[in-house]
């Protein structure tokens, strides 16, 4: 065991993992985190705690991670390269590990321009692959990036993201390989809608032997409405929403679109369970945490294994 996290135990035991997401509030309300967390307890193996997502200021990821732990949820501490340099990152990594955080997701971060402080200085001292490498060096070699010894190294299961849908498609599997080489233990993908491309990407990863070296969790975000699907298609960079997804939602009346969205997500999850090279599903029910138990139930993911 590298970290002893619940996710690591579940994956090593060969179970199909099911992880969720919790966006911290834009305020100091601890109950806002507790309330979201309560919906997720028992339905997922681990929950990603986002880090100033879409470059909007929110309660810090490590703080919300600690609240999640208090609520009985295992956090996946997201850390973006946009907001801190290597000193701050390493300090936060030690602090998070000391307080019981056992998973970390290493991300570049959305550009500042998308958020509410568009002229903030983007730090980007290191990039996401270098961050993965840094956490691995801290954990496995017991050394800081600068080379000095760490008296008590952090214990973290190291995650990275992958977007099989962004261009250039042919390079994406090599980027995955770089993340694995840097030290990623698990990968969570961008929300999948284009199943054809997903199958192709996973096949490439299988053929290159990558899926034997890393646990890949496919990203699923149920569409709440036709409007959301259109927004995701047109406005979210790197997101690919095929026309048949839009058409299917168009085919049902408005108040049944959310239900149809969940049905579509469950169909995807069914296919992912059978897909060679996948180790789980990462459910990003954006501002829809209260629906997670229902989705988990309908996707036949309950009860979650005890390991």
């Amino acid at each position: 065991m590298k970290s002893g996290s619940n996710l690591e135990k579940i994956l090593r035991a060969g179970h199909f993992a099911f992880t969720g997401e919790l966006g911290p509030p834009r305020g100091a309300d601890i109950d806002a985190v507790r309330k979201k967390a309560k919906f997720l307890v028992g339905s997922v193996d681990m929950v990603n705690i986002t880090d100033n997502q879409t470059a909007m200021v929110r309660m810090s990821s490590w703080a919300a991670s600690l609240i999640a732990i208090e609520e009985g949820l295992e956090p996946n501490y997201q850390m973006v390269c946009r907001d801190r340099n290597r000193l701050a990152m390493q300090g936060d990594i030690l602090g998070a590990s000391a307080l019981g955080v056992r998973n970390i997701l290493c991300l570049s971060g959305d550009h500042m321009q998308f958020g509410d402080h568009p002229y903030a200085k983007g730090v980007f001292d290191i990039d996401s692959i270098q961050l993965i490498y840094m956490v691995k060096k801290m954990r496995d070699e017991g050394k800081f990036l600068g080379g000095a010894d760490i008296d008590t190294p952090p214990k973290l299961f190291i995650g990275g993201a992958a977007n099989p849908f962004a261009d250039p498609f042919e390079w994406r599997v090599y980027r995955l390989a770089k993340k694995i080489k840097a030290g990623a233990d698990f990968i969570q993908t961008q929300c999948v809608y284009n199943m054809k491309k997903m199958r192709e990407w996973i096949k490439q990863a299988n053929d290159m032997g990558l899926t034997e070296k890393v646990y890949i969790l496919a990203g699923v975000t149920p569409m709440k409405s036709l409007g959301m699907a259109r927004y995701m298609k047109l406005k979210v960079p790197g997101m690919e929403v095929p026309d048949d997804v839009i058409k299917r939602l168009q085919g049902v009346e408005k108040k049944k679109q959310a239900d149809e969205g969940i049905k579509m997500a469950c169909e995807q999850i069914e296919e992912f369970k059978e897909m060679k090279g996948l180790a789980g599903v990462h459910l990003m029910a954006i501002e829809w945490e209260h629906k997670v138990p229902e989705i988990a139930e309908r996707a036949d993911m309950l009860p979650r294994p005890e390991v």
């Binding site: 570049s108 998308f114 980007f124 962004a166 261009d167 090599y174 790197g238």
Partner: protein
Amino acid sequence: MIVAERKPFEEIKALVKDFNRVLTVGCGTCVAVCLAGGEKEVGILNTELTIARKVDGNPIELGGVTVERQCDMEFLDELDGMIDQYDALISLACGAGIQFLAERFPDKPVLPGVNTTFIGANRDVGWYEEKCRACGNCCLGLTGGICPVTMCAKSLFNGPCGGTNHESCEISPDQPCAWHMIYERLSKQNRLDSIIEIFPPNDWLNTTPRTIVQPAYKERKAAR
């Protein structure tokens, strides 16, 4: 070259509001080429200021001169006889030139008339693009001659990130994705091997003021 943009007129006007005799000093090198601070721009700014101050009932006496390079002390010598008759100087040079002018004439307020914007190249007349951040650690040999520090909005060394939008950067459809371009160029050259290796964390050499003394001139510097 260094590319600059003239400051908004109202900002320059506010900077000189307390002065009645001002010398505008242009620079004949980079900022002249990029149409921000050469002889012509000195004339235009002085005309605008003269009219505006006359309209305000607070006339200003302006002089104009353009030196070859403000970032070279020897070209500043020619200003020696002129400075005394002015209360302040406006420099239309880049930040290096402005600071050298201020150092050369420390008794006079030196005010910037341009915003120094980037190290860039001339795409077409009046059209300049940033190309270099002077990070001090050039990796262009590995990245197909395309700078990820400058051209990638996140300065990623192991891109492309997941925000690549077709062939564009997530920040704008008009901004090509640097790592997409790097991939395409290296792919055509059969050199993808150079980016399959992980770039280690960069040593940022631009976090303190830098000085370079060429080896042949070290003794000369020591003697000063």
